[in-house]
Amino acid sequence: MQDDVILRISNLSKSFGPVKALRGIDFELRKGEIHAVAGENGAGKSTLMNVIDGILQPDSGKIVLDGDPVKISSPTMAQQLGIGFVHQEIALCPDVSVAENIFMAKTNVSRSWLMDYRKLERDAVDVFRQLSDIDPSILVKHLSISNQQLVEIAKALTLECRILILDEPTAALTEAEAQTLFGIMRKLADQGISIIYISHRMVEIFNNCDRVSVFRDGQHIVTQNVAEIQPSDVVNAMVGRVIDNLYPQKQEMPSDEVILDVRNLTETKRFRDVSFTLNKGEILGVAGLIGAGRSEIVKGICQLEGDVTGEVWLNGEKLNLRNYQDSIAKGVVYLSEDRKGDGVFLDLPIAANVSALNLEQVANGIGLIQSGTEEAQAKALGHKLNLKCGSLSDPVSSLSGGNQQKVALAKMLSVNPRLIFLDEPTRGVDVGAKSEIHRILRELATEGVGIVVISSELPELIGVCDRVLVVREGRISGQVTGDEMTEENIMHLASVMDAQDSVA
């Protein structure tokens, strides 16, 4: 690797009121390297990136770009300096074509009066040649999330940047797409572009990055070549304490008692003949590519969407659910994959979020909400889940991602569920909260609550679950358990085309 530093940050600090978000940060980025930045939510990595992108101004400290001290006063200026930032949240115009989105910034500074759509599309094809085969003329809203992510990256590339910041770009990508992205990243790095790669996932960092920097509590903890450091060291540096075991202990004694028995569940368009069981004390995982029908199957069981046929038996009782209200009444609940979109009420108080599934529990006989009971409920569940918050009457939006997810989980637990489907339960959650959520899931399973986890993160499924079902194109293509639970086996079942039914 070349040792010439393109970006050097020294002794940089930034406060928000009394909160010190960054404390005397030193950071350097070399030309053509892929530099991973790791840290829990609140560690200051997003603040640092926003300073580099000119969104925030530091209180003190120096930024040296290519040997020259610079003051980056706005994202526009960052662009001119050759800094591109792909945010985690997708910020595209859905009703506009891919090509127009990609060249939005260029159009903005263009001096021409008229749009030259044909040139735009030709240029877009050029940009995409190295990325993917997305048709630049289609509207962004018709693209999948992962393709939208690629459009975001393409957008940053058109700015001819020298430094590219990617904020958890793989969160919404499938394994295969992520691999493509890593290939592209390496190509860009070989062309001399320096990449700052923000991620929670150790596997990605260690397989694809050159160096890793860890932040904690607004401070820079360590920077190392990935070849010279162990994943466990990075995790320990992130959380500031030793996590000896990333995942909780698995089930010791498998039970024969069946909690859930799903038979021939079918929904005309999206899945067919889905049959599986869940035993007491077991955590069942569901794997599969995005679009394979994982979420659709569990939403179908809960009657959240779709017109489903087939039988669902819970604790030996046949369920005839007509809608999700019935499902909640029977103790079958669904934790949404899109926390901000449909999991929590961001602008309502924490207590009002926790009570939402069954208000009768916190109301008296004539339907009046007892705020004391409501707060007590939230407090008890918050305590159980180790929720960190100021006041229970604060809006959920004031919490970090991990704590928001705990509120969403508390909401599920408020109705004493017998069966919980969790769709991506740790997406966007920091390492500490993540292992807490895993521990809670294991506790619930041991208490006899049925736990079914959907996740795109295979190490999570393998680490947490006792058995993993794999869904492919609306069917269960197989299941793995014990030592067979490897990423290779799961990916094989999720993607192989010659279907051979090995359903248990």
Partner: protein, 337 residues
């Protein structure tokens, strides 16, 4: 971004420590209602020096009569706004209630029965809008805009464009709009009953809590097992029903039915609700705030009239107040967030 920095100043939730009850005064000071009360009281003081007529019983009575009936409309609008909807038809549906009840009365129907029929018609109009919004999937704004025009057209159709004189209304009917219990006008009594009842229900009942859930995040509400379409259907219908009630009270008060009544009223009502803290994005708002909003607007109008300010200035001033209130609130929220 900013969420990233939040963790540092949070405290661990322990069984002992809830900071909710202690700073009650602080919480009250933060409340929008407190700010509005201060502004209203300030205006009161200024006006009692500026105009000798202001602090007379007759003026107080006239002023409260002016906002009392509109207050019913504001209640319906606020609840609808909280659920995420909006209704542009309140002015013309109120006029339609008046016109239909008056027309039925003139055709020989008992005024109480005629009133009940008119209120039922308004409820049906609300249900009709609710149907288009929840079942067909159109936006509240468009549906109620169409109903606004249709209802106004119906008013003109039934009256030929002229006010219906209802001189033969029995005195016990007129009493609702014109009578008093002791020194307090009946209109004010009705208003207070509605305000207290709805404010209480909105804050305390599970039924209305679902309105907040639905308006705050409709999808999350559906994922919590709440029938969001039913909630929106009901809030839409309630708003129109309250228009019916208001229309009847106005009829009793004026002793006539005016087809052009309430032109532009919807904007005053929406402005009052928004000044009082209702969000056009749904999920927030309070009855008390909205009532204070309507009182403020009404106080400003009558003050300007007392000070002999041209009526043409009044709309300009009211619009500016709306803009100022919303702007101030926007910045306060930002600082708090």
């Amino acid at each position: 971004m900013s969420g990233d920095t939040k963790m540092d100043n949070t405290v661990n939730l322990t069984p002992a420590g809830s900071s909710d009850s202690a700073p009650l005064l602080k919480r009250m000071l933060r409340m929008r209602e407190t700010g509005l009360i201060v502004i209203i009281l300030g205006l009161f003081v200024i006006m009692s020096f500026a105009s000798p007529y202001f602090l007379t019983w007759a003026n107080m009575r006239a002023m409260s009569m002016a906002f009392a009936v509109d207050g019913l409309l504001v209640i319906g609008m606020t609840i609808l706004l909280i659920s995420g909807g909006i209704d542009l038809s309140v002015g013309s549906v109120t006029a339609l209630a008046m016109v239909i009840a008056g027309w039925l009365f003139l055709s020989g129907i008992d005024p109480w029965v005629a009133s009940a029929m008119a209120i039922a018609l308004c409820t049906a109009i609300g249900a009709f809008m609710g149907f288009f919004v929840t079942r067909v999937g159109l936006h509240h704004f468009i549906v109620s805009l169409a109903i606004m025009v249709i209802a106004r057209g119906a008013c003109l159709l039934f009256t030929g464009g002229r006010p219906l004189g209802l001189y033969t209304l029995p005195p016990e009917f007129k009493f609702i709009g014109q009578g008093s219990i002791g020194p307090i006008p009946i209109v004010i009594v009705i208003f207070l009953v509605f305000v207290i009842a709805f404010d209480f229900m909105l804050r305390r009942t599970t039924m209305f809590r679902k309105v907040f859930y639905t308006g705050s995040n409709e999808k999350a509400a559906a994922y919590s097992g709440i029938r969001t379409k039913k909630v929106i259907f009901l809030t839409t219908t309630l708003c129109s029903t309250l228009c019916g009630v208001a229309g009847i009270i106005y009829m009793a008060r004026f002793g006539s039915a005016q087809p052009t009544f309430g032109l532009g009223l919807e904007l005053t009502i929406i402005a009052a609700a928004v000044i009082g803290g209702a969000s056009l994005n749904g999920g927030s708002g309070s009855i008390l705030g909205a009532i204070l909003g309507v009182i403020l607007l009404s106080l400003v109008s009558s003050s300007l009239a007392l000070l002999d300010v041209s009526v043409y200035w009044q709309d300009i001033i009211r619009g500016s107040i709306l803009l100022a209130a919303v702007t101030i609130d926007h910045y306060l929220n930002k600082r708090r967030g």
